[in-house]
Symmetry: C2
Subunit: 117 residues, 2 copies
C-alpha cells in the first residue's frame, strides 16, 4: 500500500484518538448538532470543544454548515460511524474475553454469574 494512504488512515485514527472527540462523533450519530449543543450536552469548555471540533474538521471527519449565528456539525461519511460501531462490538468481545479468562483462572469464584452490584 502506498505510504500516502497509510498516512491518511493514520490521520483519521488520530482524529478519533481522544475520548472527547469520540463523544462528539457519537453524539453526531443522531444527525446535525450545533457547536453550542455539543458543549452543553457533553459538559465541555467552549474553547476546548472548539479545538476538538477543529481537529475533526481538519482531519475531514466532520463537515459543518453555518446558519446565522450557529454552526451545525455532522459526520462527513456514514462509514466513519460504522467504524465506531465495530469498535463497540470489539469492546464487547474484548470484555467477554477478559471475563472468560478471569473465570478460567479462578474457577471457585465465578465472575460472570454472581455479578450483582
Amino acid at each position: 500500500m502506498p505510504d500516502a494512504l497509510r498516512q491518511f488512515k493514520a490521520e483519521i485514527f488520530q482524529a478519533l484518538a481522544h475520548p472527547t472527540r469520540i463523544a462528539i462523533v457519537e453524539l453526531l450519530r443522531e444527525g446535525e448538532v450545533s457547536a453550542g449543543a455539543i458543549v452543553e450536552r457533553l459538559g465541555l469548555e467552549q474553547a476546548n470543544a472548539s479545538q476538538h471540533l477543529a481537529v475533526l474538521r481538519t482531519k475531514q471527519v466532520v463537515s459543518y454548515r453555518k446558519e446565522g449565528n450557529q454552526v451545525f456539525y455532522s459526520v462527513r461519511h456514514p462509514l466513519l460511524l460504522e467504524v465506531l460501531e465495530i469498535m463497540r462490538q470489539y469492546f464487547h468481545a474484548h470484555l467477554t474475553e477478559s471475563l472468560t479468562m478471569l473465570n478460567e483462572m479462578s474457577q471457585q469464584v465465578p465472575v460472570v454469574e454472581g455479578d450483582k452490584r
Copy 2:
C-alpha cells in the same frame, strides 16, 4: 456511554494512529509474522519496530507467541481488521468524492476520464 468505554476506544484508535503501526497491522492480516520479518518487510529500524510493537501490545491490538529465539505477532481480534477494511472503503469514497468535486469545479478539464499517466 460510560467514560471508561470512550477511553478504551480512544486508546485503540491511538494505537492505530501511526502509519508504521497501520503498516504492521496490515502486514499481520496474512497471519502470524515474526518481529524480525516485520522489520525486514517494512524496512524499519529494529528498535523503532519494537517500540511500535510495544504500543500495539499495550493497547491490546496484537498478541504474541514466543518460539525459541523469535516472537510471532498476530492481530488479537478480526474485528480490528474489519476496522481497517472500512477505512479502506472510506478512503475510496473520500477520494471519489474529491475527484467528483474537482470535476464539477472545472467541467472543461475532466479529471477522471482522461487520467492516463
